[in-house]
């Protein structure tokens, strides 16, 4: 029997091509625009209406049914509120990972199945094989990092056809099919914050922050900041201290509202040889003692060999073969076995 697939269409070229390929492959495709956010921010126009229109145009071109799922309430409570709370606690969270876990591969999947779909599909540069998550073949675009928190069960009901392709090929397909999104620019940054940046967004959410001191490696106060939540460990900063070497954020004390920096890129405080992860999630089985794993601590960062690890309850201690610079609390560390995503957790 022909399978019914609901494709999450964001109005971008990747999900447009996803829908087109699945239709070509003979699936009964329905396009769905997930409305997760619609609010304009100061200096940032939310383009949801344009994106919705682009998605619907492509659906019309492909002659497939099209729906809108309104997930604004859920996105707000599950993704945005989580993100803000994490920042307030001094960490640097990744809302896209949360969005995949809670919205795309849970809420969207459940809603689509309830509406009669057999499967869902997304335009992620990542592959699925027997309920396993594999990195996308385009090394520059691979999005598997953002997907490590989805479940095996949801992967068994999902398709990611463009994980097999490289981006230029995806654009070429869109062009050949005359899809109206063929030359649309890729979106950048956190979708709802856009180019205004996270600082403005957080300020609009939780109000202006208390200024505090920036302290250097010698314990000397060298400048002031407008809120320690805006600083990310490892971040390179001008710090408005006119001239001289760049500073790197080594740590923060949220209670004292102080940010610690160094000019020494070799400073011990910037380099980790061990990682501690909490809030662990494994897609299939947990990692095995005798296998060889690697870890990625940021999107598109190099994979680093794991020397050994120790798993207890919800804590994973990792010893790395080499030092890695600036691992940021709140960010995700994702563990790979070759090109397969095993799972991962949140850096403490």
């Amino acid at each position: 029997m022909t399978k019914k697939v609901y494709v999450g269409m964001s109005g971008g070229v990747d999900s447009s091509v996803t829908a087109a390929l699945l239709k070509q492959q003979g699936y009964l495709v329905t396009g769905v625009y997930m409305k997760n956010w619609s609010q304009d921010l100061p200096g940032h126009h939310c383009t949801w209406e344009e994106d919705y229109t682009d998605a619907k145009k492509v659906a019309t071109q492909l002659d497939i049914p099209f729906k809108l799922y309104d997930f604004e309430k859920e996105y707000r409570s599950l993704v945005v509120d989580y993100m803000v709370a994490e920042y307030e606690a001094g960490r640097t969270p990744n809302p896209d990972i949360m969005c995949n876990q809670e919205i795309k591969f849970k809420l969207f999947l459940d809603t689509a199945l309830a509406d009669g779909a057999d499967m869902i599909a997304t335009g992620h540069y990542s592959r699925i094989s027997d309920g396993q998550l594999l990195s996308g073949l385009d090394k520059n675009k691979d999005q598997s990092y953002f997907l490590y928190r989805v479940t095996e069960k949801s992967l068994q009901k999902s398709i990611m056809p463009i994980g097999e392709l490289e981006k230029p090929k995806v654009r070429q397909i869109a062009k050949d099919l005359h899809l109206s999104t063929a030359s649309k620019k890729d979106s950048q940054g956190i979708c709802f914050v856009g180019k205004v940046g996270i600082k403005e967004f957080l300020e609009s959410e939780i109000g202006p922050q208390k200024p505090g001191n920036i302290v250097d490696q010698n314990g000397k106060t060298i400048s002031s900041h407008e809120g320690s939540i805006y600083y990310t460990i490892g971040q390179r900063h001008g710090l408005n201290v006119g001239g001289g070497l760049p500073y790197y954020v080594t740590s923060k004390d949220m209670k004292k509202n102080e940010v610690y920096v160094t000019t020494d890129l070799d400073s011990k405080s910037l380099w980790n040889k061990t990682l501690e992860l909490t809030d662990i999630h494994w897609i299939n089985l947990p990692p095995q003692k005798n296998a060889k794993y690697r870890v990625r601590t940021r999107y598109r960062a190099d994979l680093i060999d794991i020397d050994s690890f120790e798993l207890t309850n919800d804590l994973l201690k990792i010893n790395l073969k080499d030092e890695v610079r600036a691992v940021t609390p709140g960010q995700s560390a994702v563990i790979y076995e070759n090109d397969r995503v095993v799972g991962g957790g949140i850096v403490i």
Binding site: K35, E49, Y52, T53, K56, K57, T60, Q61, D63, F66, L68
Partner: protein, 383 residues
């Protein structure tokens, strides 16, 4: 190349070639600031005076009653804010089918919305039930931008006159003023302010084959309002800023052409419109015509096509080279059905199955036939 058919004249009109020609010198050798005192600047000032005079002539007004603005929305804003800030504590009544540039402004003040009937005509009795001793302003558009209904401005102004008499007798010194947004009407209707009985009236160059971001507010002598933009005191202190001379010249030229040809154009478009309606009834028997049939601009066809998703239909028409809209171009938003259709009692679902065709100077009978053929074809094949 395939011929395209533009059917969205209520959203924008192509600028008349004569208008463009009239404007050009004021970008080139007549660029001077009309407030300057040297001789070429005086020439610019004279041209601006002429433009103002030309416009006032078509409104039966005095030149000093014409305030140039940057577009129709600004004229509406100036009218509502200008009056309401001058009479603080007073209230206003607007029709529920006004353009957003009236409705959204009214929301800043103590305001009430007068209902319309199913055909989109303001219910006069209901409107005046909302008027009390503190009401200083009533705003009702001359013709609606979405469904084209022509509003009974003259009857409203007669009722206002009798209220004014009563206020005079009872010693209530609050004036009761009538504002009308004539943006969509100016191509087809008489704009003489005394015939309409308006105290304030807005026009928009972009809807009458003139330049966009040009407009005027007619302000009857004696009517007091506060400016939105202060500065050099241009436009009788009501709209500061160096005049958009080329725009003003273009607007005057456009209004002159529109008003001189309005009767002939009314007749010509009425015929195409009526033929369009009969064709629609014939080929799309399920279609429902929205708005009044009799009291309607000759360029508007607004229809509901049951079970037809209007967004999808518009995309398909677009790829066939036919350009029309789902409603007011200002709210091309997908999830917010038009407040105008809502006020007429049209359900959100029906609103999502509706399209607006607005015709104009370049539209021919065969364009209309071809468009309706295409709509029929698309509906048969793609829905």
């Amino acid at each position: 190349m395939k011929k395209t058919i533009y059917l969205d004249y209520a959203a924008a009109t192509p600028t008349d070639e004569a208008v463009v020609k009239a404007m050009i010198p004021f970008f080139n050798n007549l660029f001077f600031n009309p407030s300057a005192t040297y001789s070429p600047a005086l020439e610019v000032k004279r041209a601006l005076t002429e433009a103002r005079k030309k416009i006032s002539f078509h409104l039966g007004a005095k030149p000093e009653e014409i305030i140039f603005t940057a577009g129709g929305s600004e004229a509406n804003n100036l009218a509502i804010h200008g009056i309401m800030t001058n009479y603080s504590g007073k209230n206003l009544v607007v029709s529920s089918i006004e353009h957003d540039s009236v409705l959204e402004v009214a929301k800043n003040y103590d305001y009430k919305e007068a209902p319309v009937d199913h055909s989109g005509l303001v219910i006069i009795d209901s409107l005046f039930e909302l008027v009390n001793d503190e009401t200083v302003l009533i705003s009702v558009m001359q013709a609606n931008n979405e469904v084209g209904t022509i509003q009974p401005i003259n009857e409203i102004s007669k009722r206002i006159n009798s209220i004014r008499h009563k206020r005079l007798e009872s010693g209530n010194l609050t004036p009761l003023l009538l504002h009308s947004d004539a943006a969509q009407a100016a191509n087809y209707l008489d704009l003489h302010h005394s015939k309409l009985g308006v105290d304030l009236m807005s026009l928009n160059g972009g809807k009458i084959y003139g330049p966009k971001q040009t407009g005027i507010l007619f302000v009857k002598s004696g009517v007091k309002l506060k400016p939105l933009i202060s500065g050099g005191g241009q436009e009788s202190n009501l709209r500061s800023g160096t005049e958009n001379v080329a725009g003003c010249i273009g607007l005057a030229c456009a209004l002159e052409i529109a008003q001189e040809n309005r009767k002939a154009e009314y007749t010509r478009l009425s015929t195409i419109q009526q033929n369009g309606f009969s064709l629609i009834k014939d080929k799309l028997p399920n279609a429902v015509i929205n708005g009044s049939i009799k009291k309607r601009l000759p360029n508007n066809l607004h229809i509901t096509l049951p079970d037809i998703d209007n967004e999808k239909l518009l995309f398909l028409l677009d790829s066939a080279g036919v350009y029309c809209s789902a409603g007011s171009a200002c709210s091309a938003s997908s999830q917010k059905p038009s407040h105008v259709l809502g006020a007429m009692g049209i359900s959100d679902q029906d609103a999502r199955n509706s399209i607006r065709i607005t015709i104009g100077r370049q539209t021919t009978q065969s364009d209309m036939e071809r468009a309706i053929d295409l709509i029929t074809e698309i509906i048969t094949e793609k829905f």
